[in-house]
Every structure is written in structure tokens, then in C-alpha cells.
Assembly symmetry: C2
Homo-oligomer: 122 residues x 2
Amino acid sequence: MRPLIHPAVEDITVEGILHALSDPVRVAIFTDIAFKDCTQNCSAFSAILGTPIPKSTLSQHFRILREAGLIRSERIGVEMHNISRCEEVDKRFPGLLNSIAQAHEIQLRQSKPKKSARRSPR
Amino acid sequence: MRPLIHPAVEDITVEGILHALSDPVRVAIFTDIAFKDCTQNCSAFSAILGTPIPKSTLSQHFRILREAGLIRSERIGVEMHNISRCEEVDKRFPGLLNSIAQAHEIQLRQSKPKKSARRSPR
DNA sequence: TCCAATAGTTCATTATTTCTGAACTATTGA
DNA sequence: TCAATAGTTCAGAAATAATGAACTATTGGA
């Protein structure tokens, strides 16, 4: 099993970040990791994301996030722990991740008025 | 020739924008269009970008930028004029394009200290 | 009016990337 | 030592992207 690749902060690229975050599954994963700063293992996400995603696919998504410099993965025992590298990325590209996160929120708020469908009063 | 697709501002997605701007050629094109607010025709870019890029490929890149909502294309006579939709995008996702542009600048500054090679004093 | 030139699009093929099931590796706990 | 768990890697299938060739639209002459 080859060692995991984590780029040095100065090798993180905008293209890499934008590409990594242009996929909705990866955005969901990354947002989750970034918000809960407790580390998240890989399989937890099959549940978090609506659709069940094969673990080989998840593994690739994590690799892309990792190699873009967005997360740091470490094996702890039998599972993988992932933490965000937001602070490092923010040092290199100030404000970038924040405005992307904000934009995603705006989009979510617009497309899902779900919550307002309280309870149909029969 | 089918009509060009320009999404309404509320249909512009973060994923679309990030995907469009995760390609260096498209970033170069978009930056150029956004900075010069004079409209730029398609072929001009073969010159602007270092490498010569086939026009069919350029056409696709323009389409992706257009359908992501980043530019507006209009046929004027025999050529195509492209203008940025920055202001609209900024209304929908405040600060997003700016921080991406800033990040790209930071990256450029780091990797190309070219300009400082003023003139070799023989 | 018709034709050549210009600018770009569309189509079809090839190349590249992404997805995914199956097999594999690493670690733990019994 | 073995079964269970968590994830990776590989190889083939599916989806995207790049590009040459043929096409469309417009203009500016002959």
C-alpha cells in the first residue's frame, strides 16, 4: 500500500482546489470534514450522502481532496482519519475557501426550501 | 446553428463555475475577457495563450464558460463578441470570483518571478 | 448576384478521466 | 492464527474532453 500524498502548502494549486470542489460528492465530504473538526472516517459518508456510494469511489474522492491539499488523512488503527487543511489553504489563498463555502450555502438555501414544509395539517 | 445557451443568473451553480475555472486555458480566457471589458473574439486567444489551441477546442472552452454563466457571447457580424457576467455572478455569489482571481494571482506571482529579470546589464 | 474569405460551430473519432466491482492490504481483537 | 473491519488498488466499463474535418453564417468585393 503506497504512502499517501499530501502536497506542501506552497504546492497547493487553485486549479486543484477548484477541480476538487467542483464535484458535489466531494463538496459534501469536505464540508462535513471542515465543519465537524472531529475526524471522519471514510465509510461514515455512505450514510451522510443521500445515495450509497461504492467505497472504491469514495476512496478516489478522498484521494482527490487529499492531493488537492484540502484534507489530511492518517491511518489510525484500522480506519482512516481525515482532517481539513483549511487553515493552511487559507494562509496560501486567503478567503478562497470561505467564499466557496458561502456560495454553496447560498445555492443550498435557494434550491431546498424543504425545512419550511413543516407538517401538512391534514 | 443552434442558439447559444446563457443560464439565468439564478440558475448559475457553484459547481459550474468551479468546474469552468478549474482549467488553466479557460481561466486565461476568462481573466482576459473580465479585465479588458472590451469584448474579445475567439481567435484572439490563440495568440494570447502561449500554445496554439485548435479552434474547435477553443469553441468548447467558450461554450463551457458561457453555460457556466461566466460570459455572454453574441455574434456581431462574422465574429463572436464575449463579455464577462462578473457583476451578475457577483450578485448571486458575492466575493466568489474575486477570491478566485486573487488566488490565481497569488499563484502566478509565486511561480513566475519573470518580471524581475529586468535587463541583464551585459 | 455569386463567390471567396473569415470566424466560429458541429460532428465523429480518439484520448483522457472517472466510476466501480473484485481482489488485495493492513490492523485489530478474539 | 483467523475472522472481521476499513480502506486501497487494479482493470474494465462508462462518461468527458480534445481535435480534425466538414459545415454554417456573415461580409465584402468582382
